[in-house]
Symmetry: C2
Subunit: 225 residues, 2 copies
DNA sequence: GTCTATATACCGATAGAC
DNA sequence: GTCTATCGGTATATAGAC
């Protein structure tokens, strides 16, 4: 057991980590300023070093604390009663909700992915493996029941989770792109985005099922709109 | 017409932009050091400022030059003869190939997405809109022909492209995760990743087609393996 | 445990000689 | 056009008083 989590976070360590998560997420590791983190945590810079050590240790603490919370939520979602499809959708919904109530999480992960995970502490890979296992088990269950096609589980997991995180993270960019392209500008809530990803991945984009086989390609199955 | 593109890039401007792309991609905007860019371009720091101006202008030049090249390749891919599904797969293949022969591109884009596009110049949004239109047109064509289900095209485009870019970018992270989780470590080539995404998106994960409708859920359609 | 003051280093940008 | 030298600003990290 580590520290108790309270809403106001009286614990200096927690206040610092929470503030650091925000700054690291919005500015990256190199761009984050210790002064800004200290200020946002409401303490002095010297105190920050006293409590959590240098910038690198603080960064590791932020990442580990984030993924730890995400992991336990995702595990709970996958333990939901229901079909593998429903479990997978529950995982996506949970990830979207977590990414929204913890807006630092997705930028943090995406920056690390962009840098090839160069600054990731070893413990992070273990946690990421645990997250994979949550999705991987659902996929395996689906294949076993014959409701999922067999695929490379790690690739499918990354595809699924990456697509949703990307969709969530691009919200502001997407709106500006829509404006620049003369498209209708819509702001989608996270739940909607999770459903879009789930729908797309579960049923596929093609209207005709398995049209690539040697079965007859059914053109224009009427009543589709 | 701007400048001629040669392999060795005798033009100082090009050498600088190419070097900057590498450094910005691996260190981010704030983390990138002008000295390192100059050194990697084989010129003096003062010359860098003489040729391209300050850090921000250099960054914009890198982004615009990258997406411009990607855009023309993607347009060519979408102009391929074939079904909408084949065109979509061609676009994915092209993006994967481009991301591989231009390893700076995906990290650059992902970092910007992670920061909400805060440092993106206005011209970038126009280009990103053009990239969307390439995919959007293929999607519209597929819907028109009745082979694609109608979806929000912008969301589907971002989901598709985001999934592939994420898959490509996580290659090194994925291997370390696999090692930490005791999974078989595989290094997939970009073409394979593009096919994984295309396959998943086009046909979906579910073995039974449209099982969510009121049609009979066909359990265990035999001969699936 | 908390804060002020500062050491130390580095970075972006430019001045100015050639 | 090219380079050296350097200015001005700011960053991480710590020393030391309280």
């Amino acid at each position: 057991m580590k520290r108790s989590r309270s809403a106001v976070a009286a614990d200096p360590h927690e206040r610092i980590v929470a503030a650091a998560a925000q700054v690291f997420a919005s500015s990256g590791f190199e761009g984050a300023r210790i002064d800004e983190i200290a200020e946002r945590a409401g303490i002095n810079k010297a105190m920050l070093y006293y409590h959590v050590g240098d910038k690198e240790r603080l960064y590791s603490a932020v990442l580990l604390e984030s993924i730890e919370r995400a992991l336990s939520l995702l595990r709970a979602a996958a333990a939901t009663a229901g079909s593998p499809s429903e479990k997978l959708q529950a995982v996506l919904d949970t990830l979207a909700a977590f990414g929204t109530s913890n807006p630092e999480f997705i930028p943090l992960i995406m920056r690390e992915v962009a840098s090839g995970g160069r600054n990731l502490p070893d413990e992070m890979f273990v946690r990421m493996g645990a997250v994979f296992r949550v999705v991987g088990d659902v996929l395996a269950e689906g294949v076993e029941q014959g409701v999922f096609r067999p695929t490379d589980p790690l690739l499918t997991h990354v595809t699924l989770v990456g697509a949703l995180m990307y969709l969530l993270a691009t919200e502001p960019v997407r709106q500006r792109v829509a404006r620049a392209a003369g498209l209708p500008v819509a702001d989608h809530n996270p739940a909607h985005l999770a459903r879009h990803v789930g729908n797309l991945f579960l049923h596929g984009l093609e209207a005709a099922p398995a049209a690539s086989r040697k079965t007859v390609t059914r053109k224009r199955r009427e009543g589709s709109r």
